[in-house]
Symmetry: C2
Subunit: 338 residues, 2 copies
DNA sequence: GTGAAAGCGCTAACAT
DNA sequence: ATGTTAGCGCTTTCAC
């Protein structure tokens, strides 16, 4: 640890701690001569301010926590990057906590059993229910991401999942597709994300005058591409016919692409595929993947806007912000009917 | 912020701060009656220890910094996860810093202009030279990852890149491949990683009695799959013949796969492909990707072993640890000659 | 414009 | 086994 302290510098320079502090903080009203002398002492001693001590004195940590399910899921790692960069632009450091979609870990985030570690928390819950969230009384500012739990009492940022799903279906319908699979519902999954997307899917079909067919809504056992590939192949084997797939996630789309290929179906000619999240995966697939694109940078900046207001003492009830989304068109569901 | 302090609890419970502290820390020698009374006071007041204050008093932060080039590169996000999980197992929190392979940012990591934020640093440099690293005098323990800069003075963990590249080539040779492309050298890239891998590639060829052909070593303008795809197609167009590709990175392999497909070559029948890092990408590609697999969990635990020793005061000169690697065989370069 | 001193909330050595 | 007290290094009124 750094053994040279503010007072050491002060003594060497023959000034008070206050003056050294002023120099460190680049305060305006310091006599140039003093400033030079102090700076010389700092350099000579190699003084580095102790952040922990500063924090204790000021009560601000300059750090925010980002709690996400998995750091190595493409969507979350890309989102983390956006948030980390935006935070750093605003002078904060980010500490990332992985919940692994675990109920206990999510509660731990909410609980914040220890205070004074971060000034605020950005949390993307998966398991936690709105009611539980609402009940938790915290003293560290909190902003929620995603749509898993939306208590009215807490600030919250998301894209309009219903509208986005609708846009995805509309794009497919514009391509002339009529039999559109939704992939998929995850067995035992209690998140509302899928529900919202499924709702938008249905709305768009109704809007287009396409009859709803429950058979077209596929269920998969888990979140892996392998399961999606298997589900698609099983559906085809069972005689289901379709000409498009709307996936709730790019990883699902990767699985769909694999399954369709194994089944000998051409994408996008026979079946068009739309993914979700517009992660880097979209350009790694064959064909490249059209995907619903949440504006991650806006998500990050909006979340930080809300959080900073809270950290400054804003006390109002929960604000809910919708962030724009778009659809990035690539080969798997091109702009011109394929 | 938490306004209830240790002393508030002590007063309410009618005991000293020490006793409260003992209860908080689950010390053994506390009279059961007192423990109950204190716990009741803690619960009633909703007391949460202030970590910053504890840190200032103990001098330990319980946090380590992980500095990597990009948080959303598959290899680094997976490695981050391993390190975060291992660190959490050992009672540390991790704060992730992105350098974006920027020289200035890398220097900032080394500089540690502010002390007392973390107990130690794990750093994967890209730009920084060994000499610069060696010259920096730091007071926070440091462990280096990767092979970009290997000063003798600093602890360091990596896989044997030369041996790993050799293993990759041997695998291809065992499949009967003789014309093996190395993909690739990145123009303007000054990292030594590629150099090591290229060396192992050459060694294995010599060992197998296969003549070296400089034409087979491809150069790409940057790290994107698109560039790799283009480079492969250009090579084919120029008349280069080959039956295998060893890639320095899974993302390169994704590009190679795309390029080969566009050129109408079948993988693995006509050309076998081996990637590097064994990231999740390997199962997303078509065909799935055989890849050199650094043992990321061992990388993480070894780095933390070394770091913890340093944090405990170990003073010796730099230790250099090699971590095992293997090759995960998938479709793109199967075990049985394809 | 600069100095002196009182905390920030906790830990740990020392005392009882 | 429990209480007392002196710091940890910095910031920040308040005087000068």
């Amino acid at each position: 640890m750094a053994r040279v302290r503010l007072i050491d510098v002060a003594e060497l320079a023959g000034v008070s701690m206050k003056t050294v502090s002023n120099v460190v903080h680049n305060y305006v009203h310091v006599a140039p001569a003093l400033r030079q002398k102090v700076q010389a002492a700092i350099d000579e001693l190699g003084y580095k301010p102790n952040l922990t001590a500063r924090r204790l004195a000021t009560g601000k940590t300059g750090m925010i926590a980002l709690a996400i399910p998995e750091i190595d899921h493409p969507y979350f790692s890309e989102l983390s990057r956006c948030i980390a960069e935006e935070a750093s632009r605003r002078g904060y450091r980010v500490i990332i906590e992985q919940t692994l979609s675990d109920t206990v870990a999510e509660h731990a985030v909410l609980q914040d059993r220890e205070a004074g570690l971060v000034d605020g928390v950005i949390f993307h819950p998966v398991r936690m229910q709105a009611l539980e969230l609402a009940r938790s009384q915290r003293d560290t500012p909190l902003v929620l991401l995603g749509e898993a739990a939306v208590p009215v009492t807490t600030d919250h940022v998301m894209i309009d999942n219903v509208a986005a799903a609708r846009d995805g279906v509309r794009h497919l319908v514009a391509l002339g597709r009529q039999r559109i699979v939704f992939l998929g519902i995850v067995a035992d999954d209690i998140t509302v994300t899928t529900t919202r997307r499924l709702l938008g899917y249905q709305e768009a079909l109704v809007e287009a005058g396409i009859p709803l067919d429950p058979e077209l809504v596929l269920t998969v056992p888990d979140f892996t591409p392998e399961s999606c590939s298997a589900a698609i192949q099983a559906a085809i084997a069972s005689g289901l016919t379709f000409d498009a797939v709307l996936c709730r996630d790019d990883k699902f789309a990767v699985g769909a692409l694999q399954g369709l290929h194994r089944a000998g179906l051409d994408v996008p000619r026979e079946v068009a595929v739309v993914g979700w999240d517009d992660t880097a995966l979209t350009s790694f697939t064959r064909p490249t993947l059209t995907s619903i694109a949440p504006d991650k940078a806006r998500l990050a900046s909006t979340a930080l806007d809300l959080l900073e207001e809270r950290m400054r003492g804003h006390q109002g009830s929960g604000r809910h912000r919708l962030v724009p989304h778009s659809i990035t068109v690539r080969e798997s569901a091109p702009a011109i009917p394929g």
